[in-house]
């Protein structure tokens, strides 16, 4: 019976003895459906949820205040200056975008790789992606000197006949991030339609019924529909896979295209993508571990999922480590005095403490993931994930601030110190993200129901 799922999972996921199952035995179509749907439809609103939402909303209010003041007075309220023209805004942008990547990776790449264990986490991972991208998307606009002209970044016909400057990585960003957001939303919604149909049927009040009904668009599970649906789903996965790899590559171009020592390096694209997935999976665990605990989803989000995520973090973490090492190696190998100084400045300069903190949090600590016992311990995983999230934020801080503060002409060297407004905006987006997640798990099935059904052994069609 419990062999079922393994039969469906391909070679890539060959099970062995100590591996926990993707779905605990003894479930049925009905039981999974009810368990997931009821979490939304019938489960009463808990105090913990309210408290969490309140905190999130409080921070959103802070964000509103900070942004209002920002638009009234100007980006001068932040710590940025000449030479450090970019500060928290861009750091946060890159950080959030990176976090988004795990969602797409889980839903698209693991789908292509037939990793069935993805089915129980892809839904909220995608939601996480959307909210993270939303957070990230704010910053490019906020950090502009004249944000009310932000639409100039898009190509639209105008009387002046002027257009964006397509050689600029910032324009690439506009295309990459907006495409990424759109496709993620499409992927997410398409995945939701059959579940909306389920909710439609299960909803009690005709009010919620009609809302879910509208979202379901009259889905009725026809074989023809499923055929086209599956075709599209795989195609979207196929499109999203290069997309997710491209997005952080493009983000890394923001730096790699420039000539700033510490930015102008060819290793950025792979190492940014790896870093993105690294932090993304950390965020997945930070969300999944509490959710499965409070919503009793241990039977669907099993240790298997957490352990696999941990393994991916370990792998990507090692790629990132390789990136750090090679950055340093090339800095000296290049023979460029600027590059050499950049590296020495990271090691011993005014921001050295952040660099070494980064190495500790991002490289040293995660190595404990080699130990199976740690991978099997939710508390450990949760803490390590937090550490990695901080580490990845520091990585962007080091790349942006350290490189800019001391570049070519010593006469123009400067120093960057964040102001309370920098922190306010960052905290605000954290709150926005949290609030969005809290609302999401209350109004939508946090786990893909129809894909869970597929995990049941009886879903197999027994050939005669």
């Amino acid at each position: 019976m419990s062999q079922g799922p393994e039969e469906k999972t391909g070679l890539l996921d060959a099970p062995w003895q100590d591996e926990p199952p993707v779905l605990t035995p003894g479930q049925s179509y009905g039981s999974v459906t009810d368990q997931i749907a009821d979490a939304v439809l019938t489960r009463p609103i808990g105090l913990g949820w309210l408290a969490g939402l309140a905190i999130g909303m409080g921070l959103v209010a802070l964000l509103g205040a900070a942004v209002t003041y920002l638009f009234l007075v100007g980006v001068g309220i932040w710590g940025i200056n000449i030479p450090v023209g970019w500060g928290f805004a861009i750091i946060n942008f890159v950080w959030w975008i990176g976090i988004g990547h795990a969602g797409t990776l889980i839903s698209a790449i693991l789908l292509l790789l037939k990793q069935t264990w993805r089915n129980s986490i892809n839904r909220f991972a995608e939601a996480m992606t959307l909210f993270a991208v939303a957070c990230a998307g704010m910053f490019p606009l906020l950090h502009m000197g004249r944000p009310w002209l932000g639409y100039w970044m898009f190509p639209y016909p105008n009387s002046m006949g002027v257009w964006p400057q397509f050689r600029s990585p910032l324009v690439w960003d506009v295309f990459a991030v907006s495409t990424y957001a759109t496709i993620s939303a499409v992927f997410w919604y398409v995945g939701l339609v059959p579940d909306f149909a389920t909710m439609r049927e299960k909803a009690q009040s005709r009010y919620t019924k009609s809302i879910y009904g509208l979202l379901a668009m009259g889905w009725r599970g026809s074989a023809r529909h499923w055929k086209r649906y599956e075709a599209l789903y795989i195609l979207l996965a196929g499109l999203a896979t290069p997309l997710v790899l491209s997005v952080h590559t493009v983000v890394s171009f923001d730096f790699a295209i420039s000539i700033v020592p510490g930015w102008h390096t060819t290793i950025f694209p792979p190492y940014f993508v790896a870093g993105a997935i690294y932090s993304g999976f950390a965020m997945v665990l930070v969300l999944a571990i509490p959710i499965r605990h409070f919503y009793g989803l241990q039977n669907m989000i099993t240790m298997r999922h957490l352990q696999n995520s941990a393994k991916i973090m370990l792998a990507t973490g090692l790629i990132v480590a390789y990136g750090y090492i090679f950055e340093a190696f090339i800095a000296f190998y290049s023979g460029s005095t600027y590059e050499r100084f950049m590296m020495e400045n990271r090691w011993f300069g005014p921001y050295a403490v952040f660099y070494w903190a980064l190495i500790l949090l991002n490289l040293v600590v995660p190595q404990v993931l080699w130990i199976p016992k740690v991978r099997a311990n939710t508390t450990w995983l949760f803490l390590i994930s937090l550490v990695i999230l901080v580490g990845m934020w520091l990585e962007r801080f080091i790349i942006i601030i350290t490189s800019l503060s001391r570049d070519f002409l010593p006469s123009s060297w400067g120093h960057y110190v964040a102001t309370r407004w920098d922190y306010a905006v960052f905290a605000g987006t954290l709150g926005f993200f949290a609030a969005a997640i809290f609302i999401f798990i209350r109004i939508m099935p946090a786990i893909s129901i129809f894909e869970m059904r597929q995990l049941l052994p009886e879903s197999e069609v027994k050939a005669k």
């Binding site: 049925s28 179509y29 009905g30 459906t33 190509p155 006949g161 002027v162 257009w163 400057q165 397509f166 050689r167 690439w172 295309f175 990459a176 495409t179 759109t182 496709i183 499409v186 919604y189 398409v190 059959p194 149909a197 389920t198 439609r200 049927e201 299960k202 009904g213 509208l214 668009m217 009259g218 889905w219 009725r220 599970g221 026809s222 074989a223 023809r224 499923w226 055929k227 086209r228 649906y229 599956e230 075709a231 599209l232 195609l235 979207l236 499109l239 999203a240 290069p242 997309l243 491209s246 493009v250 171009f253 129809f450 059904r453 597929q454 009886e458 879903s459 197999e460 069609v461 027994k462």
Partner: protein
């Protein structure tokens, strides 16, 4: 042939099953029996089901391909036109046609158009959104989104006969059979 006149009165006949296997076998039997205008309904995708009812190819991939091509071409075309024809500018000594720089937006446009056309294409081909459908009249059909499997032979099928077809369906040993009113 007298009762044939009745056929338009209903949408079709629907049989309810408990497992995907039963559904697929039933569909295959119905297809073998010569029924064509029919459809299988299930709470999750079943590749065998669509094959069983003789639906083998979806045109979604073609739509996605065309969308992608359109996006890519228009993306690069726009950039080329802007930088070389409409408003050429000397940007940092780079050539007007800096095609390597144009690759990124071109790629993104390809993905964007492919994805969107795929979604809209899929819904269009499926005839969705369709808030009303005769099947929704059948009270047990609501479980198709939960745990039940259905096979519906439509009255529009030339071979459809309210009596014969019902008898045929009985032979499939479904959980229940119901008439689907319009």
């Amino acid at each position: 042939m007298s009762h044939k006149a009745l056929s338009p009165a209903i949408y079709g006949l629907i049989a309810e099953f408990d497992t995907s296997t039963e559904l697929v076998e039933a569909a295959q039997a119905a297809y073998a029996a010569g029924y064509r205008k029919m459809d299988a309904y299930s709470p999750f995708p079943i590749e065998e089901a669509s094959d069983a009812i003789g639906f083998h190819k979806s045109r979604v991939p073609l739509v996605v391909l065309l969308g992608g091509l359109l996006g890519g071409l228009s993306g690069f075309g726009l950039q080329y036109w802007i930088n070389v024809i409409a408003y050429p500018l000397n940007i940092g000594g780079k050539p007007y046609d800096s095609w390597p720089a144009f690759i990124v937006p071109t790629f993104e446009m390809t993905i964007l158009f492919a994805g969107l056309s795929g979604m809209f294409g899929m819904f269009a081909l499926n005839g969705l959104p369709m808030p009303y459908h005769p099947l929704f009249h059948v009270e047990q059909f609501s479980r198709v989104t939960r745990d039940k499997f259905f096979l519906c032979v439509e009255a529009a099928d030339p071979k459809f006969d309210i009596v014969d077809t019902q008898r045929f369906m009985q032979s499939l040993k479904p959980v229940s059979i119901a008439e689907v009113p319009h």
